[in-house]
Structure formats: structure tokens, C-alpha cells
Symmetry: C2
Subunit: 480 residues, 2 copies
Amino acid sequence: MILNSPEFSRLLNPRAVAVVGASADPDRIGSQPVRFLTEYGFAGQVYPVNPKYAELAGIPCYPDLASVPQPCDVAIIAVAARHVAATIVQCGEARIPFAIVFSAGFREIGGEGIALEQGLKAAIAASGVRVVGPNCIGIMNVPGRAYMGFGPGFRNPDLRQGPVAFVSQSGGFAFSAVGLVDAQGIGFRYVVSGGNEADLGTLDFLDHFLDRDDVEVVVTYIEGIADGRRLRAIGRKALEKRKPILVWKAGNTGIGRTAATSHTASMTADYKLYRAAFHEGGFVEVRDSDDLADCIRAFLGRKLPRGNRIALLTTSGGSGVLMADRCDELGLVLPPLQPGTLERLRAIMPAFSSFANPADFTAQLSGNYKLFNEGLRIVLDDPNADQVVIRYGAVQGRAATRSCGRKIWRRRARPPRSRSWSFGAGRRIRPRNRSRSSPSSAFPGVSPPRARRMPPGYCTSSRPRSPRCARSIACGRWSG
Amino acid sequence: MILNSPEFSRLLNPRAVAVVGASADPDRIGSQPVRFLTEYGFAGQVYPVNPKYAELAGIPCYPDLASVPQPCDVAIIAVAARHVAATIVQCGEARIPFAIVFSAGFREIGGEGIALEQGLKAAIAASGVRVVGPNCIGIMNVPGRAYMGFGPGFRNPDLRQGPVAFVSQSGGFAFSAVGLVDAQGIGFRYVVSGGNEADLGTLDFLDHFLDRDDVEVVVTYIEGIADGRRLRAIGRKALEKRKPILVWKAGNTGIGRTAATSHTASMTADYKLYRAAFHEGGFVEVRDSDDLADCIRAFLGRKLPRGNRIALLTTSGGSGVLMADRCDELGLVLPPLQPGTLERLRAIMPAFSSFANPADFTAQLSGNYKLFNEGLRIVLDDPNADQVVIRYGAVQGRAATRSCGRKIWRRRARPPRSRSWSFGAGRRIRPRNRSRSSPSSAFPGVSPPRARRMPPGYCTSSRPRSPRCARSIACGRWSG
């Protein structure tokens, strides 16, 4: 049975959360969600459950799930593995529809763990309780302040909010990535650690997030998916909904697959099968957290280019060559500039500039942002450019900001010029509900403070490593 | 003719520098080296040359090269392209052995530029003056404060000093990379922008830097090398000298090669030919500035592992899987831990830990650095591990530092334990002259402030993107 959206919403936005195995000992993981839920502004009720205490963290503590008040939507379970199945049965009896099981020591350790997981599955089937985990680190609803997890990733109440949802088969990994992407100015709405997926799995969450109006971009880290057919169906749904799924697939090599097997015991098929599914569309593959941040930003800019033709401007020939290499690797093309463009450039630029594509205005133009911007204006008019990319060399800081053509961008962002407009513009992505908390700028490869002052959809970089930003530029080809 | 080292030293450590085309106008590139050489602590003489001025920047200005006092080792040339050949002849007449030509508008623009470059080559041959450029942005001797260039890369007098030399076929690119690597706590000694290489080329500088006692690691950015045989000979020399050349090769794809041709007009052969040369040894290929920083750090740690067997410890299964993938891609192996190691680990670690390789101590151990370190100590004794790598998940800051095993490292870094010692240790690289100004720590993938507190040769990361650090770990296999 696939949950429908209103049901899932009770898991992500619970009215009340019980914590079974709540503890006053800060070293025990059962102590953590109690603290997070009472201290970070969660508006719902929190019910610690532990017969040892009458109260915990200044609120009443309950001896068992039967005595927890209704309606309670989620039980967090942090007891030893051998008690988990019985606790799920108690959730059912207490009419708690969802459980998040932190407890480890199931399928992933083999041996008796496998038997314990079978018992857990039987309890799930008998009780009708829907379960996240076991062996997960929890779920976070950032704007709802529902920090239903444990570990260092949950200890930051100041995480940014944004219209991004993240479903991960590795909890520790997901929250590391959330921290790094947060540091680049991008916020999340939901983060889900799926653990062993004894019941609810990655595909259930992906499916649900594609339906949610408050999610614009979906991110997933996967080690293994058993249902390849459903994975492909979800890719098609992503295309229909015009909502990309950024997928970070691990366990792709011989060693990596062995490691994945002992991590979440996911069956991980040959990488080629996944790549084939990803190439059907809907998915955008990323390989590290910088890729992830850049690609999220590209999509949140809500403007994608019409095609794969790039005009590349640089003040450093070498940076242009590196970027050209990456564009080639990613299936982007650099057509020659049109004769009219060349004529207009030659009329104003120094003779030693190169007007090929990449066009190299050379380091001698580094300080001269006015002339640089005049050149940029001309290239923007070139009908062959679906996207204009600026690659600085050593130019950083204010000089880079001033040669960013911000005013140019503003003037040209309005129709009817949009056809020749090409800062990653053209075809506009319209999410059904634009989230208020989403970033207003999208600027891959530039440090966050500067990025916030940049126009949406504008792709450039002041860092030489930023052949990386080619990945996000290539997002323009997302839907094929 | 190949220059021998004492001659080359006059170029890198000049007693006096003339600047032809010196200017009082800060917008003209001829103004910049005068300012850098007079303001940043250069101990030699500076002779601006321009008949328009009697003095410039508070020092006497000379009407022509003939009137410049001797001995003058370097002339910087910042005049229009059509005057460059004549100026080289004047350098010869004034007995100035080296010229650095900023002027652009030669071979790289085609047409009349090609003829101008032929004329320049004739002047070089006739005068005996050795020339860097044209179309270069200069040379920097960081500790010698000889900032003989222009552009934003030269505007930072506070660049770090270190035993690293960088030869680049793109000046703008080189100085961007220097800035980024500097920000990661790594300093340079010499940075050379070769430009069109009408005379002295990348291979001459690589050859020379391998000979220099004050250089431990050589870095090069190349777009094209005409003399493949000499490239391979230099690789062999690097192995003999036990001094790695980190090579960043661009212009590898169809589009990238076209771009390289219009940049420095280098003939760039098929990438496969370069890779073959690199694989013979001596060279380590890098692909972006993070790779570059990580690999420099790995070599400056001066300890390389004996082999390619990695023991990987993590608190995040997903991070372990990603890292295992990267290790596989780079030819590293993760052998199972020895039975004795497993027995000792099982005696102290929680049952839900995984003792495969990667060993996952799980997020539940994130805060427990003492237990983590006990586990680390045990794994370090495993005779199958040439190198131990720690991959945290969301653990950062003080917790990561405390679980770094710094004390463990110190105790075990001394022989006779070095055989089982494996933080990138084992085979020791002994450069002939250890530079005093070189970094005392080497810690790929960790932010600079923490990195400085870490022991040399220690490879880990607190960042999830750090499957990247696999590149520097693989440096251990440098010489094959």
C-alpha cells in the first residue's frame, strides 16, 4: 500500500510525537529528540515514554505508549533491537500511525539481526503501523521544527529553510551534506533518513515529495533500490511534474558495492542499470556536495536555457579551456559567435582579445569592468547562445561583482527580449506553488554572500576550480 | 640550449629588474611591476624605463635600456607588440640576459601576430637574450618578493611561502589557483606564467625546478607540449629525484582543444598520449584546485604509504560507501581486517558496528571520541593496512579533532612501530633540503585552521564531499 499525501503529512508534520526510550542521560540517543523537540520551537506535543521517569526535560514522562494522549502521530523508538517489534505492536494498540526506529542491530549485522528484522516486519504487517527504519537516524521537518532524530546533524536549530527535500539511505551522510549545502546558502524543508527500509522506503518518499507543493527540488542518496520499474516510473513522474530529482548514487564499484551491502544491506545492481534509468530523464546525477549545491541552485533559479549552446566569456584563457573541456564532457556545445557579434566585439575590444568561443577578453581587461560589460551585452544578443557563462580567472570580490552585468541582466530579463536573453534563461520553470522561503538567487560557484546579490539563473564563478559549475550549467538539459 | 641552474637563478632571483614601458597610469600594465617591486620588499634594484618620465614611483626613471645601470638581470617588457623585437635587441646590447614579455598580440591572434612572433624569435636568436612569453603575465618569486608580473594575482603581498613551484601555460589560471591553494594554507616559492613560450617553455622550467633544492613539489598546468620525448624524460627525472610533478592538463576534449589553440596556440595532442606519458611515473594528474591542494599537502607530509591497501574507518556508512567507490576507481584496495583485529574490535565496540572494511563505528559513536580512538588504535596495528583513513559523517569541529588520534599518531610515528604505522606513513620521502618555510602539517580535506593542528601525513576529512581526498590518498602510489 502506498500512502497518500494527507497520511504522509502526519509523519512529516505530526501533531504530537512520543519518544520511546527517552532518557535523561545525554549520551543515550533517546535523550536527543526530546531535547530538540522541546527546545527548537516545535509547536506540537512531546511525550517522553520511559517507566523510570515521572518527568523529563521539564515535561511529563509516560510509563508506556498506552498512556500517551491522543492524537499522537509519530512514535520515535530508541530501545534495544530485541524490544522493537513489541513496541511497534504497542504503537498499533495506541493508534499511533507512524514509527521512526533508531534502533540498530537488524538485517545490517546479519545473523540474529536478520531474524529480528523478520519479526519487526511481521509486527508492522499485523499492527498496520508504518515504519521508517530501523537503523535510521530520523526525520527532520526544518520549518516545522520537528527534529525527530539524533546525532550531530540535528544539533543545529539554525538550519536554513528552503523548498528542497532530501531522502537518504545514509543518515549520517545526508546530514553532513545538509550542513555543507546550508553553508552555501541553500535551505531544506524535509530531510529523511530511511535506514534499512523495512517498511517505508526511498521510493515512497520520492513519490510523495514529487506530489508536495512545498517541495521544488528533490534530492536522494541511494545505495540500492530493489524495484527498478518503480524507480523509472518515478523518473517519468518527475518529468511530468517538472520537478527534478538530484540523485547521488553510491556503491557503484566492486569495493563500493561490498561496502553498501554491509551498510544498509541494500541489493545494489550494476551501476549501468541505474545510469540507464537516470538517462531516461527526471533524474540528474551528482557526485559530491559541491555538485549538489550548484545543481540545487540552478533549479531554484527557475530559469533553464532553451538548449545546450553555451557562449563562454573569460578573462583567463586557461580557465576557458578547462571549462570548454567540461562542457564537452557534459554534452554542451560552444558554437562560434555570429558574424554580427564578432563585428560588434571587434569594434570595441582590444586587438589581442580572442573572439572565438570561449571568448577571452584576457587578464588585461580584469580591472575594466565597464568594457567587460559592454562585451557581455553584445554576446547576450547572439542568437546562437542559449546560455552565457562568465569565467573569471583571478578576478574576485568587488571587481567580479561589478563585471557581473547585474544591471544588464535586469534590463534584459523582461520579455520580449527573453528569446535572445541567455543567462540560463529562456524556458521558465514554474513550480505550482512558489515557496516564500526559497532563495531568490541562483548563482553556482560563487561564495554565498556574493551569490545572494546575484540575479537568478546567472551562472558564473570566481573560482578556478569551477569547471565544476559546468555540471549545474548542464542542468539546463535536464528534461532531455 | 638548456640553461643551467645558476643562469636560471638570475631570472628567478634577479639583482635588478628594468621595466620597459613603465607607466604612472595605474590602468597600464607597465605600472604594476614597478609598484609591486618597490612596495612589497624586493631587495634588488628597480629601473623603470620610459623617456616620458624623470622619475616614477619615487625612483629614477631611465629613458632607454642603454642607460640602465649594470648588473641588471631581467627586463620586463610591457610595450606594444610591434616594438617588442627591437626591445629584445636592446636588452642584448645592454647585457640584460632575461626578458619577461607581457605584450600580447602575437601568434595567439593569428595573421600579423604570427609574423610579429617570427620577428621576435629572430631577435631572440640574434641577441642571445632568453625570453619568457610573450603574452604572459609574469613570474613571481614569493620569498624573494620579486613580483615581476601584472594582474590581480600579483596584488597580494601576503601570499604564503612554501617549497612548491608552479609553471603554467595560463597565467590568469595559475594565479587563481595560487590564491585558492594559499587560502588552504599552502604556500609557493616560484610561480611562472609561460605565455606563448616563444623561447623558454614549460619543460625548461620543469627541468630546472626538479634540480632546485628549494623546491619539493612541482606543479604544472599545460595545454600543449610539442616535445613529447622530453616530457617523458622529465617524468623519469622526477622519479629519480623523488620529486613529484602534479600536472593539470587541459584541452583534452574536442572543444577544449579548439579553445587551447586560440589561447596559447599550443598544439595539443590527443589526451591519450599525455596520459600514457603521465602513467610512466613522475607525474600525478589533478583535475581541479581542491585536488591540487590535497595532493600538494600529501607530498609535503613527506610520508607515503608502502602500498595501496587502505583501512577505512567511518561513523557514517554512506560516507564509507562513497569513499570505497573512489578508492576502487583509483586502484586502491580495501582488504578485510585481520582476524586478530576483528577480535580486539569486537571486545570493545557496540554490537551494531560493522567491522568490514570500511569499518562503520556508526553515528552512535560520533560523540564518543575515546571509544573511537580505541578502535583506531586497534586498526592501526593491522598489518594489512598501508594507510588508515578516517571518514567522518556529520562530525565536525572539536569532536572531529578529538577523534583524530593526534596523540596516537605522535606515539606511533616513531620507529620501530613505523611498519605497522599507517597514517599515510611507511616509506619516507626525503627531499635533499627540507625547506624551513614549508607547512608542518599535511591534512587533506580538512579546513585550514584545523589542518594546521593535524599531524603530517594524516589523511582524513570532516566533509562529505571528501571522497575527493581519495585522490591525495592515492598519491601514495605515486612512483608506481
